[in-house]
Symmetry: C2
Subunit: 596 residues, 2 copies
Amino acid sequence: MPTYKAPVSDTVFLLNDVFDYARYANAPGFAEAPIDVVEHVLVEGAKFVEEVVQPLNRVGDVEGCVRHADGSVTTPKGFKEAYKALVAGGWVGLSGDPKYGGHGMPHFLAALFSEYEMSANLAFAMYPGLTNGAVAAMAAHASDALKDLYLPKMTTGEWTGTMNLTEPHCGTDLGLIKTKAVPQPDGSYAITGQKIFISAGEHDLADNIVHLVLARIEGAPAGVKGISLFVVPKFLPDANGAPGERNGVVCGSLEHKMGIHGNATAVLNYDGARGWLIGEEHRGLPAMFVMMNGARLGVAIQGLAISEVAYQNAAAYAKERRQGRSLKGPEEPGKPADLLLVHPDVRRMLLEIRAFNEAARALLVSVALTQEEALTAPDPKVRQAADDRLSLLTPVIKGVFTDMGFANAVKAQQVFGGHGYIAQAGMEQFVRDARIAMIYEGANGVQALDLVGRKMPKDGGRAVMAFFAEIGQFLAANKDDAALAPYLAPVQTALGHLQQAAMWLMKNGAADPNNAGAASTDTMHLFGLTALGYMWARVVKAVLARQAKGESSPALDAKLTLARFFCERMLPETGAHLARLSAGAATVMALPEDAF
Amino acid sequence: MPTYKAPVSDTVFLLNDVFDYARYANAPGFAEAPIDVVEHVLVEGAKFVEEVVQPLNRVGDVEGCVRHADGSVTTPKGFKEAYKALVAGGWVGLSGDPKYGGHGMPHFLAALFSEYEMSANLAFAMYPGLTNGAVAAMAAHASDALKDLYLPKMTTGEWTGTMNLTEPHCGTDLGLIKTKAVPQPDGSYAITGQKIFISAGEHDLADNIVHLVLARIEGAPAGVKGISLFVVPKFLPDANGAPGERNGVVCGSLEHKMGIHGNATAVLNYDGARGWLIGEEHRGLPAMFVMMNGARLGVAIQGLAISEVAYQNAAAYAKERRQGRSLKGPEEPGKPADLLLVHPDVRRMLLEIRAFNEAARALLVSVALTQEEALTAPDPKVRQAADDRLSLLTPVIKGVFTDMGFANAVKAQQVFGGHGYIAQAGMEQFVRDARIAMIYEGANGVQALDLVGRKMPKDGGRAVMAFFAEIGQFLAANKDDAALAPYLAPVQTALGHLQQAAMWLMKNGAADPNNAGAASTDTMHLFGLTALGYMWARVVKAVLARQAKGESSPALDAKLTLARFFCERMLPETGAHLARLSAGAATVMALPEDAF
């Protein structure tokens, strides 16, 4: 049975040493959370997920969610109690608006806590995750009346939220949405249609479920410009704001999925359900994008989260399972065999995972702090720059963290040999659970296209130029540091490859947009590797600074080894990405339809 | 629901055009099978698996195998009837010795047919696959008396076979085997111990199950040199050779696995079961290696097989599902959206899969023909050279085909978006089924180590030098062919990288064997890519020859496009592999155990 220990000290090291958390001391958004508070919250959060949430991971997979004939859904044994404890502990409302019962902690803190929650139990963590996304969308776009009615219950997690986009014939292409909304005399709308793949769409964890639903008001223009966003509660709030009359939305079935069995993925049938418009008519997509962008960041974290817990269990197994002998002769001749850990290829797998994990966590912390600034910085220029950086990096980390997170879960499973294929060991669940993160909230191909087609060229390349400048300035500022130099050179090379890719795209993407499409996934991964390499360089600088003060610890040494490993074994891939993407679209587009 | 159409015409094209099948016309082993017979067998085999075996793939996954209280096991609905038909049709004994009721077709033909069988239903195909492996081991090492008793029933598939190696504490490290064999006065042995992960270990498909079991004779030397091989039937054959008394081996449980649910993976408890020695005492491992080497080739084919069926279904979906618009503007403005196939990144995924599949099938045909020569060539030098080539390429194709086959199943699933995650679509089953092939018959890390530590240095590098020479001669012989040149240059580059890797290993592996271990997986994949690139070059030559004769077809054009795609988008990875492996073991081995 897998175990999990949240990497609190790594998170705190990143905040303090790498990203100089102290510099935010008086900034709005951060004021409530000096580092000791942050650390206390993370420690307590870690304890909660380790003790309450993680032990339910396996039962969630085995039991799954069950739909009954009346459309009600039962979650796996223990989920209900754990969810009540999550709400009672204030974890759902950690960064919620105090006006609505939230704890007012900064948003980045909730993001960093969510890594632990998702490592512990991804299927479980999705319930509060979607709720927070729905809260954010409503906070940004709903009327005060709707906010006053829903947010007090949703912020705390007493009620949960969902996002309803997909229909049987459309996922990515939301312009095809058919669900219709008919205006009613009282100002509400009657919503009718079918939504599929609705995570946390029906369950028994909360007293009410608040669906945010994209639909088309009768007579609306075709395509994405005719889509509006509605709030459709499972139970209509009564005069006191308590769940009242049952609304016309029913769970028609649950999907049988590869993984995340503990989360109910519902088909929701709307039959004249009462809904209320959020924001303006036909402007539903921008409103939903608040939730989707948050969700993309959340899904990126899922990739890291599964990679981390998979690593921990694979490393433990490699330090316990004895099989074969060191290639240099028995390390422990008194034992029947040496540990798996003596085998270089086993180490390679573990190091690939961990060299990703620690750099990805650094990038997550960096992006989460940027998001905080984008939300709260008083200076509009700072906000703008932060928003640029966040928008640029969101598709990168969604795509790269989830692709690598899945690949890492597979590697961790491989360390277990045949036992990794058996359900009992729990490793194959990580693989199945991690797989969805590459798909939902915009399949990774969509992220890649968002990056090359929208985020990189946007505003004349302002965001990407700023990010290149950020890395370039770091490299330039540290170029005379001899101890750091070996880690900077490979990052410089990677950055060079990424800049060449950007130039190639600028030149060839305009000439033929299929060139951008054919280059998109390689560009995204080249970008991700470069950003992760840059993170390692920053981490190494922080480690060297500590060592220069005379501090010495195996944990600090390990970071240097991992950084070297990343430079030697993972960054060389950037050259291959550049070669591939530079090949252009001609061959990719050459085959006629019939030839496939 | 997935569908499948066996690629018979591709197999025949490879035999005829690429590998000049006619040149074997009078060779022993091939004599019974002129190309028209080969094609007829493949066509009939294709029909059988498409109509009878493939429709059971999904039910096999959903139902799985069920163990009853008495230790008996029921296979999924329909498996029994399909297996009877498989035996009746002569498919199990296709290349079996006519002396024992086989059809005497060459072995390579059974290998090529098995690709189709495993595409159709991997879990099902394992039953006859293991049986044929057991037959081969017995044919090579068992006494005539044992052969006469068992092979007539096993060759036809009337009885099935298994291989029993793994025990709870040892998989790869067979020296740790504890199962004991106590000599009995009648010359038999009493076998006692527990074996796990026994594929097809217990089921209701056949009248008897013949276990080949590794065990240690009382007083045998420790380690691998004290292991013997035994045949232990489920039912002891009576005087007429019919299944008689029940033997002391019982299925204690079935594993709950990630995939291949239709195959019963048994824990087998031996309690003084009667067994008979195969070959010499303490020489069990070399005997079992006959079966294991065959099994490794079989597992390599599994990687290709799943990749092929996953491709077919992903391509069909991309030609049917409409989502979004071409980046160049609507291709079918009259429809609500364009086909998935207009998106370059969707094509990229499909082309990556297919550019692998067709080259891998070429390499499979090449290796299968080599195996035939190794078994049957009259000239000992030819046999030796063939055996060298087979031994060298076996770990390469086992490791590379299964790693890439799994990655391709994941890509094919990705083409389906959210629907790929739902069981009903069948794509996630391919992923789960493909995963085991990276693990069993020697995890891919073991294959990589076998390659760099044993197969490449063996006999002073004779086999690997011969293979480099084979590619080098092909490149040299065709260097003046202007039409072929664009395909040869990238292969030349890849070969150069592989040769550099071999030299690096020669130099550094001797100095520190951990350098070889740390380089192993990258070397294996570099080797695989080079071999696949070489196959594309040979395929292109064959295509150009046909086109030079005035033949023109979309299928021939497609091969040229796929070859270009492979050169542009897949071969660049060889440089990254070389960079990684050249980094050496120092960083890989640096972290102390506690730091993991």
